[in-house]
Amino acid sequence: MTSINVNGKVHDLGDVPDDTPLLWVLRDHLGLTGTKYGCGIAECGICTVHIDGDAIQSCITQLGEVGDSEITTIEGLSEDGSHPVQKAWKQHGVPQCGYCQVGQMMMAAAMLQSNNDPSDDDIDSEMWNICRCGTYPRIRAAIKSAAKEMQAK
């Protein structure tokens, strides 16, 4: 029997095949629909979650690769929407349709964890997620706000 650790909780997955992408395990088997599907080939970044703190694309990560790593999804990023990126996203009015923003925030949160003073070039290279609504300028501004809050801590 396969089990995974998501947001601090261990879930038994029964006979879910090992080659199932983590994305669909989260969404269909665990009901954690906050993580979204966008492309299935790690091209858009929408399905980004954290594995042991690193941003990875759950659409191309197989269940069998996860082992006992700690997975964090948007549902576990903070208890109440109080992570600095969530607050900054709200402050800057980033979301339009909102569908890609979970992946954007997970990507930004991981980047800021290792680099809490990203330059514009850092943001350009780390934040390769696609947003079809076109919220990039606000994402950039929100990342800078979140970085300031994280520096102050």
Partner: protein, 761 residues
């Protein structure tokens, strides 16, 4: 009791009413044929006897519920329209609940498309709010035994001006419910100076749910006991299944059934493309099952569609006389006799909507024998009434009996106003006798879109000694959106050419617009800003070409081309003006010039003109969806041809603005979406098959290649509210290409930019 309502148990509107406690004041604004709004009051007991347009409900605990009947796909409309009601009602926004409406034609137009929501519903929402406010004020007057003109609603309570008495909305509900509903002429709408919410910003109502992953989109919609379906559709539109072998698919753990879906009959409309569906207990199992199918296809009549070849056909059609759709003066004669004629041809390929959330829907169909007795669809749809109209006939039901719940949309751009995916879900649920959720993979989405058309626009101008055109000829050839509904439609429709060609704002004595014939070989749809995409790319680029041809500054030349401040004679030209009245929505050249000037001023146009080679600015302007946009784009092109867009300036005049920050967000997003289309947008067909599959070969701009900074000025205006979402798309791409010309001397007439070498020395 109205039976259609009786049968709608557990749906959102029913829930809305159920939430309105006994004795609640419920108001309904009924839309009559034209623009007139009649507001009627109702108690819970007699509610069903009215034809409602929208509801405001106030519960005894003071909670105000407002029905949101348009779809939220990123514009903020689910917040903005209820804010208008709340403002006129003097409701405290913190005590307002927004309830999403189901599809119901009695609500009026729900097609969240065409940048129409505020234009269509601003006045209606105000009347609804003012009616409720007036009734509460009258209730307070009755309760206190004082003249009503001493009772004023103020932030969720009514206060008495001649004493210190005040009373909450909730406490007035029982009296207000017994009062006659005031006629429209008894209402006093608030002056703009008293607006509490209109023109003021607030976070969108779904903000916290979006940020915490709780927001529910179509892909997240769930029904008890549902199966997940992924469908193999014909690789060529109009193709059919000859035979298929599902034995390998059925071996995939979790696969429950494999079902053939019939091809559409006649024109595609919103019918399914057909194919073979694999239904399973998870999305991934269904997907793997779909990939394990062995299907023999008959490709049908579009098997030879080849866009490289087709582009040549379009170019030929646009380079020979066509059918005149606007004509004044004698452009042909003036051009024939001129010795100074400039000619240029522009093309834009097919584009795909590629919304971040693919089309998704879940349906629950219940049958007795062969007969469908109920059908509920929950979907990311821009138009729940179109879902009813498409699913109803497919189920043998009246459209109004199909219950359609609307989720949030992971963007739409026009794709999700076409509910073929909802019909697929309903067909599968009917066959399986349990709810079925259909998820389109990204490949399904790119392969099977209702594509933005492929186009060719030919322009000619006879230039006078002063450098200005005395005659102008425009010819367009592209498969029409009409072909999706009528297989015999073979030339651009009036509503299409009116998006940039027949509505040409330039002051030119002789002007002729013609269309050529072009048959469609795939499903053609409308994509954000529609035919403006190709037509304003051509027209606004050509203005720049004419300026350079005359050795003039493009900005000053453009203002001269627009001519004197005036209103175009819409009737004489034969423009529909999107059905809007020419009094409220004139085609005002003065406003178009004003946004052009404003963009140039913000950009410091003179500075831009002095940039060194490899850097440059371009300008363009457009009236679209009744709003006015001026764009200046600055580019940097490295010697080896790498393009950067450091800065964009946009001035928008869309009349009165309800939610300024959401409007700015739309303007920013439009520039970025237009950047994607200009840089990368290209869908090609070979052997009838789309050659792109996903975001790796149908590229989107990301943070690094999008415009770095977008500076937006929304003109402060009291004019009638115009469109926003699509309005600022059209002039971006030509402004960008005009800037590339200024930087490099390279004139781009065929999009996308990716196909061009921009290097210079």
């Amino acid at each position: 009791m109205n039976t259609s309502i009786q049968s709608r148990k557990g749906i959102s509107r029913r829930g809305f009413l159920a939430g309105a406690s006994a004795g609640s004041l419920v108001l309904m604004a009924k839309v009559t044929g034209g623009q007139e709004v009649v507001v009627v009051g109702a108690t819970k007991a007699n509610l069903e006897s009215f034809d409602p347009d929208l509801f405001v409900s106030i519960a005894p605990d003071g909670i105000v519920s407002i029905l949101a009947h348009r779809s939220e796909m990123g514009t903020g409309i689910r917040t903005s329209l209820p804010r208008v009601v709340a403002d006129e009602l003097e409701a405290d926004w913190e005590r307002v609940e927004i309830v999403q409406a189901i599809g119901d034609k009695r609500l009026g137009d729900q097609n969240t498309d065409g940048s129409n929501s505020i234009r269509f519903f601003f006045d209606r929402m105000r009347v609804a709010g003012a009616t409720a406010r007036t009734m509460l004020e009258r209730a307070a007057a009755q309760k206190w035994g004082v003249p009503v003109d001493q009772c004023k609603a103020d932030n969720h309570r009514v206060v008495h001006s001649n004493s210190d008495r005040e009373i909450g909305f909730g406490e007035l509900v029982s009296i207000a419910s017994t009062l006659d509903v005031p006629a429209a002429d008894e209402l006093t709408l608030k002056p703009a100076s008293k607006y509490r919410y209109i023109g003021k910003d607030t976070p969108i109502t779904d903000m916290d749910d979006i940020l915490t992953g709780k927001a529910i989109y179509g892909i997240d919609a769930r029904m008890e006991n549902q199966l997940f379906a992924v469908i193999a559709r014909p690789p060529v539109v109009g193709g059919t299944v000859k035979s298929f072998d599902a034995s390998e698919a059925k071996k995939i753990p979790g696969v429950v059934d494999v079902i053939e879906i019939p091809k559409f009959v006649g024109a595609p409309l919103f019918q399914p493309l057909g194919g073979v569906a694999v239904c399973a207990d998870s999305t991934w199992a269904a997907w793997q099952g779909r990939d394990a199918l062995d299907i023999q296809w008959d490709d049908g009549p579009n098997a030879n569609y080849d866009t490289d070849e087709f582009a040549k056909t379009l170019a030929a059609a646009a380079n020979q006389p066509g059918k005149a759709v606007r004509n004044h003066g004698d452009a042909d004669k003036v051009i024939a006799e001129s010795d100074n004629v400039l000619r240029a041809d522009y093309s834009v390929p097919h584009l795909s909507h590629a919304p971040m959330e693919t089309p998704c829907a879940v349906a629950d169909v219940k049958t007795e024998g062969d007969k469908v007795v109920s059908c509920t669809v929950t979907a990311a749809t821009q138009n729940p009434q179109a879902v009813q109209q498409a699913v109803g006939p497919a189920m043998g039901m009246k459209p109004e009996d199909v219950i359609v719940n609307v989720t949030l949309l992971g963007s739409g751009f026009g794709r999700k106003s076409k509910p073929d995916y909802c019909v697929e879900a309903a067909m599968l649920s009917r066959k399986l006798g349990r709810p079925v959720h259909v998820t389109w993979t990204r490949e399904d989405d790119i392969h099977n879109d209702y594509f933005h058309t492929i186009s060719h626009v030919h322009l000619e101008a006879a230039v006078d000694d002063d450098g200005k055109p005395n005659a102008w000829l425009a010819r367009a050839a592209y498969p029409t959106i009409g072909s999706t509904f009528n297989p015999f439609a073979k030339e651009p429709a009036g509503f299409e050419v009116e998006m940039g060609l027949t509505d040409c704002p330039y002051d030119i004595p002789h002007l002729r617009v013609e269309v050529g014939q072009a048959a469609a070989h795939t499903r053609i749809g409308w994509l954000r800003s529609v035919a403006h995409i190709q037509q304003n790319f051509a027209v606004c680029s050509f203005a720049d070409e004419l300026a350079h041809h005359a050795g003039r500054d493009p900005y000053e030349y453009l203002l001269e081309l627009l001519g004197q401040d005036r209103h175009l004679d819409l009737k004489a030209i034969g423009l529909s003006n999107r059905g809007a009245s020419p009094t409220d929505y004139p085609y005002d050249i003065g406003r178009l010039k004003a946004v052009t000037r404003r963009a140039a001023e913000m950009a410091d146009w003179q500075r831009g003109k002095q940039l060194p080679k490899g850097r440059g600015v371009g300008i363009a302007c457009c009236r679209a969806f009744l709003g006015y946009t001026g764009h200046v784009v600055e580019v940097e092109v490295s010697q080896d041809g790498k393009l950067r867009i450091p800065k964009v300036w946009v001035a928008l005049d869309a009349g009165l603005i309800v939610s300024p920050d959401r409007v700015r967000a739309q303007v920013e997003g439009a520039a970025i979406m237009a950047t994607t289309q200009a840089r990368y947008g290209k869908i090609t067909f070979k052997n009838g098959r789309v050659q792109q599959s996903n975001y790796d070969d149908y590229s989107m701009v990301t943070m690094s290649d999008a415009p770095r900074e977008i500076i937006v000025d929304v003109i402060d205006s009291k004019a009638a509210p115009a469109g926003v979402g699509e309005t600022t798309v059209p002039s971006f791409a030509p402004a960008l290409c005009n800037a590339i010309f200024a930087a490099t001397g390279k004139r781009i007439r065929d999009l996308p930019l990716r196909d061009h070498d921009l290097s210079w020395s």
